[in-house]
C-alpha cells in the first residue's frame, strides 16, 4: 500500500541534526541534485523527462488534505501513475489544447532538503524538502508553496521516484483557474 504521511515536525533540532549527520554527504548531495533536476524539467517543460524520473509503478500524489496518508480511495488534487501522467502530457502537447495557446511559465525553487531515511544497502532514500512555485500566465502571477516528500529507489545508478507527495500550503484554498501541469 502506497502510504506516506505529511512531514511531521521534527522532534528537536538535536535529533534532526543527529539524523542528518548519519547521511553521507554524497547521498545528501545526490538527492539534492535529483530534486533540482526534477524542478528544472518542470520549468523547461520537459514533460517526458519528468515522467521518466518515476519508477514504473511510481505515483505522483498531491493530497486534498494534509491529514491524508494515502490517495488510494480518497480524493486528491493529483493521484497519477505513469499512464495518467502520459495522458496529462499528451493533452498539454496536443495542437488543439486551447488553454495552452496562452504562454505560461513557471519557476520552481526547491530547498530545505532533509534526508529522513537512508538504506545504505539498497540506496533507497526518503527525503523531504520545501518548494516555491511561481507561475506566470497571461499577465497574472500565481504562487504555490509547500513541501515535497520523495521516496526514491536506486535503479541503474540513478534515483527513481516510487512516491512523490506534494502538500501545498494553499492547496485547500480557492483555485483561480486550475493546475494544468505538475506542481
Amino acid at each position: 500500500m502506497l502510504t506516506v504521511a505529511a512531514p511531521q515536525p521534527l522532534a528537536a533540532p538535536s535529533a534532526a541534526s543527529r539524523r542528518a549527520a548519519a547521511v553521507p554527504l554524497e547521498t545528501q548531495r545526490a538527492v539534492e541534485q535529483f530534486l533540482y533536476r526534477q524542478a528544472e524539467l518542470l520549468d523547461t517543460k520537459q514533460w517526458q523527462g519528468f515522467i521518466d524520473l518515476f519508477a514504473p509503478d511510481g505515483i505522483y500524489w498531491a493530497p486534498a488534505h494534509p491529514a491524508q496518508v494515502t490517495g488510494d480511495g480518497e480524493p486528491s488534487i493529483f493521484f497519477e501513475d505513469r499512464d495518467l501522467m502520459a495522458i496529462r502530457m499528451k493533452r498539454i502537447l496536443h495542437p488543439r489544447a486551447w488553454s495552452q495557446k496562452t504562454e505560461w511559465l513557471t519557476n520552481h525553487v526547491v530547498s530545505n532538503v532533509i534526508v529522513e531515511d537512508h538504506d545504505a544497502a539498497s540506496g533507497a532514500v526518503t527525503c523531504r524538502s520545501r518548494f516555491h512555485l511561481m507561475e506566470f500566465r497571461r499577465d497574472a502571477v500565481r504562487h504555490f508553496g509547500g513541501s515535497y516528500v520523495h521516496r526514491l529507489v536506486k535503479a541503474d545508478g540513478d534515483y527513481r521516484i516510487t512516491l512523490q507527495r506534494v502538500d501545498m500550503v494553499n492547496g485547500e484554498g480557492t483555485y483561480e483557474y486550475v493546475l494544468q501541469a505538475w506542481v
Binding site: 499528451k90 493533452r91 488553454s99 483555485y175 483557474y177 494544468q180
Partner: protein, 437 residues
C-alpha cells in the same frame, strides 16, 4: 434604483438571442442578486456534512454569509453569520464544530445552535436601555426558509414563494436518481470540497454544462490524449481503467452527441439524457446490480439503473450528475466572478469499487488539476472578455431554434446539439428579472 425598466430587461432576451449586457453589466448583476438569488432555493449543503450537534459549514447565499449548523434537537438551521450585537461574523472558519455554543469573539455573546440567545456577559449594562435581551434582536437571524430533499439542504432568503418541492419540480430526479442508486436509498457526502474561481459571469458555467456541441471541440486534446492511452494500456494489460473513458468519451463523433436529448422546463431546470453508457456489465457492476436487486427487486432495479441521465440543472444554482454522484454548486460573487464548489457522494450500501468510479470522475474532471475544465474555464474567461467588447451586441442561441419538440410543460430537443437549454435558461431568467412583483 435601477435605470432599467422591466421592459428594458425583457427586451434583452429574445427567443433565439440575448443581449450581451446580461453577462457583463454590473447593474444587472445586482438585480440578479435581488430578483433571482435572494428568491430561489439555494443549495446549502448535505445533511451528512453536519452529523453532530454544533457541526457547521459556512456558505454564501447570494451576497449573504450563512452558517448551516446542526442543533441539539437534531434539526439543521441556516443562520446569518452575523452577531446581533455589533455585527461581527460569528464563524470565521469554513467548517468545524462550535462545541458548546456559537460564541462571538468580540464580546462573547453566546448562542444556541438554532440561533437563539444563550448568554450575554455583562448583561446588566443593558438595564434601562431600549435593548430587550429576550427579544429576537438578540438572536441570530435565521434564513426565512430551510428545507431538505433526500438529505440535500436548501435555504431561501425569501419568506414566501414556492415550497422546495414545488421549486425543484422535475429536477427532483437528480436527487432521486442519486439516492435510488444507493442500495440503502441515501448518499453520504465525501467531505472534500474543491473550489474553483472563474473570472467570468455565472451564466457561462451553467450554459456550458448543457452545451452538448462544445465537448468534442473544447475537449479534443483531453479526449485524444486519453483515447491514445486507453488503447495503449488495453494492448499492454488487456483492459484500461474505466476512468479513462470519462475523458476519451470526448472523441465520439459529433453525431453521437446529436443523439442525446435535453428536456427543458419553464423553471430553467434541464435534464440531459444519454451521454455515456452508464450501466456497464463488468464484474464490479454486476456485483452491485445483485445487491440492488436484493434491496429493490429486479424490476425496480432495472428502472433505476436504466435511467440514463448525465446532467441535471437546478436553475440557477446547481449542476448534478446522478450516475457519477457529482454536484457542482454555483456561487456568483460579482458580474465577472463565479465560485463553483465541487462535491461528490458515496452511495450507501454500494460496494467500494462503485465509489471508486465517482472518485475517479471527481479526481479527473472536478479536481483543481482537471484536464477537462482547464479548457472550459479558458473559454468562459475569453467569452466574458469578448462580450465586454463593442464588437457585437447580441449573442446567438439560434442552433436548432424552432425545431425542438414543444410539449405541455417542457421543451424536448430532437437534436442533442440544439441550444434549447440556453434559450430555456433565458426564458426563466426573464421570468425572474423582467416580471414585476
Amino acid at each position: 434604483m435601477t435605470r432599467y425598466s422591466l421592459k428594458d430587461i425583457g427586451g434583452m432576451v429574445e427567443p433565439d438571442r440575448v443581449h450581451r449586457s446580461v453577462y457583463t453589466d454590473p447593474e444587472l448583476f445586482e438585480l440578479e442578486m435581488e430578483r433571482i438569488f435572494n428568491k430561489v432555493w439555494t443549495y446549502v449543503g448535505h445533511e451528512s456534512q453536519v452529523k453532530k450537534p454544533g457541526d457547521y459549514w459556512t456558505v454564501m447565499i447570494g451576497r449573504q454569509p450563512m452558517i448551516m449548523i446542526r442543533h441539539d434537537d437534531g434539526n439543521i438551521y441556516v443562520l446569518y453569520n452575523r452577531c446581533p450585537h455589533r455585527g461581527n461574523l460569528l464563524i470565521g472558519q469554513r467548517s468545524g464544530n462550535a462545541e458548546k455554543s456559537i460564541t462571538c469573539s468580540y464580546h462573547a455573546w453566546q448562542f444556541h445552535f438554532d440561533g437563539t440567545s444563550k448568554a450575554i456577559p455583562i448583561a446588566k449594562g443593558y438595564e434601562g436601555t431600549r435593548l430587550d435581551l429576550e427579544s429576537p434582536a438578540c438572536a441570530i437571524k435565521r434564513a426565512p426558509r430551510v428545507d431538505s430533499y433526500r438529505g440535500f439542504v436548501f435555504a431561501s432568503l425569501a419568506d414566501h414563494g414556492p415550497s422546495l418541492l414545488e421549486w425543484l419540480g422535475p429536477s427532483r430526479i437528480a436527487f432521486d436518481q442519486m439516492c435510488d442508486r444507493a442500495p440503502d436509498g441515501e448518499v453520504e457526502v465525501v467531505p472534500t470540497c474543491f473550489r474553483i474561481l472563474q473570472k467570468s459571469n455565472w451564466k457561462f458555467f451553467l450554459e456550458n454544462q448543457l452545451d452538448v456541441a462544445h465537448a468534442v471541440i473544447t475537449h479534443e486534446s483531453a479526449g485524444r490524449a486519453a483515447a491514445e492511452m486507453e488503447e495503449e494500456v488495453r494492448r499492454r494489460d488487456g483492459s484500461a481503467p474505466i476512468d479513462y473513458h470519462f475523458l476519451s468519451g470526448f472523441t465520439l463523433p459529433l453525431g453521437a452527441f446529436d443523439k442525446m436529448t435535453t428536456i427543458n422546463y419553464p423553471s430553467g431546470h434541464s435534464v440531459l439524457e444519454g451521454y455515456m453508457s452508464l450501466r456497464p456489465q463488468d464484474p464490479i457492476s454486476l456485483d452491485y446490480e445483485g445487491i440492488m436487486q436484493q434491496k429493490y427487486g429486479e424490476a425496480r432495479t432495472n428502472q433505476i439503473l436504466d435511467t440514463n441521465i448525465h446532467h441535471v440543472i437546478c436553475y440557477p444554482v446547481l449542476s448534478i450528475q446522478p450516475p457519477l454522484q457529482q454536484l457542482r454548486a454555483i456561487r456568483p460573487l460579482a458580474v465577472d466572478q463565479t465560485l463553483t464548489e465541487l462535491w461528490h457522494f458515496r452511495l450507501k450500501g454500494a460496494p467500494e469499487p462503485i465509489y471508486r468510479r465517482a472518485l475517479g470522475y471527481f479526481n479527473l474532471v472536478n479536481s483543481p488539476s482537471t484536464m477537462v475544465n482547464a479548457d472550459d474555464l479558458w473559454n468562459f474567461r475569453k467569452q466574458h472578455e469578448g462580450l465586454s467588447s463593442d464588437g457585437g451586441e447580441w449573442v446567438s442561441l439560434h442552433r436548432y431554434a424552432g425545431q425542438d419538440e414543444e410539449l405541455p410543460g417542457s421543451v424536448r430537443t430532437r437534436i442533442g446539439t440544439s441550444e434549447a437549454p440556453l434559450r430555456n435558461y433565458f426564458r426563466a431568467w426573464a421570468g425572474y428579472m423582467a416580471v414585476g412583483n
